[in-house]
Subunit: 123 residues, 2 copies
DNA sequence: TGACTATATTGCTATGCAGTGATATACATA
DNA sequence: TATGTATATCACTGCATAGCAATATAGTCA
């Protein structure tokens, strides 16, 4: 288990990354770009947040290395740069027992079929 | 990919969980109890934080369902209740390229061999 | 009962940061 | 050049929360 061995300095870094992910708007942005590149304008519309705010959040995600930038003329396109974010969200979702939150028959069905999964005790 | 399908409400919950993990002291507490039960007093000593502070953080971890409580006389023992935290940390560590943070000779050595004398100093 | 210990809670301050409007920068087009 | 558009940055406000001292609560022991 890596966790045991992490010195305090490392814990700070890990916490910092979790903190980057601890913001609904940023998760929304990651969700949007995880399907493919999107321009800032598109992200602003899709996320339903202010332009300055989205730009700032994108800057934070960029600095954290979670997304990457590509400039093309007037537009700037963002994309996922660290696929681990997706895994992290999946893990959290499972832990939160939120298979249902995906609110899609596909998921519900898969859930019913592959029921051998470890049951997350609902606290 | 679950992430794609998460509605905004779910994103808030996921963000909330990440935020709980986005605090060095809380990660430290999780690190300490992940080896086994510990009393609050022990945690206060080991974490090097104030008693009130540790108690508050433990409360937050408890409410998030990440730890569990057991009372025995005057003492209260905390333990990990959600093993996914460990996985989450591992994922983040790997993503951060912090295998080296495990501070083992192997890594230090590799670090020294592969590089010139450039010291990796903190920020 | 009272004294003592372990833990939780309260009230407070200070800091971090999300959100916003205004402005700056970069690029394109005429 | 001037004008317009896309993005980034600045300055500011307000809110959430980490940390702390003091106090409260709960349990033990005399």
């Amino acid at each position: 288990m890596i966790l045991k061995r992490l010195p305090d300095e490392a814990l700070k870094l890990v916490a910092a990354r979790f903190r980057v992910l601890g913001e609904p708007v940023r998760l929304k942005l990651l969700q949007l770009v995880c399907e493919g590149e999107m321009s800032v304008t598109e992200l602003v519309e899709a996320a339903g947040a202010g332009q300055a705010n989205v730009s700032k959040h994108l800057g934070i995600l960029l600095e954290a290395g979670l997304v990457a930038r590509r400039k093309e003329g007037l537009n700037v396109f963002y994309r996922i740069a660290d696929e681990s974010v997706i895994e992290l969200c999946e893990l959290v979702c499972r832990s939160l027992g939120m298979r249902l939150a995906a609110q899609h028959e596909v998921i519900k069905q898969a859930n019913r079929v592959g029921r051998k999964r470890t049951q997350p005790q609902g606290r």
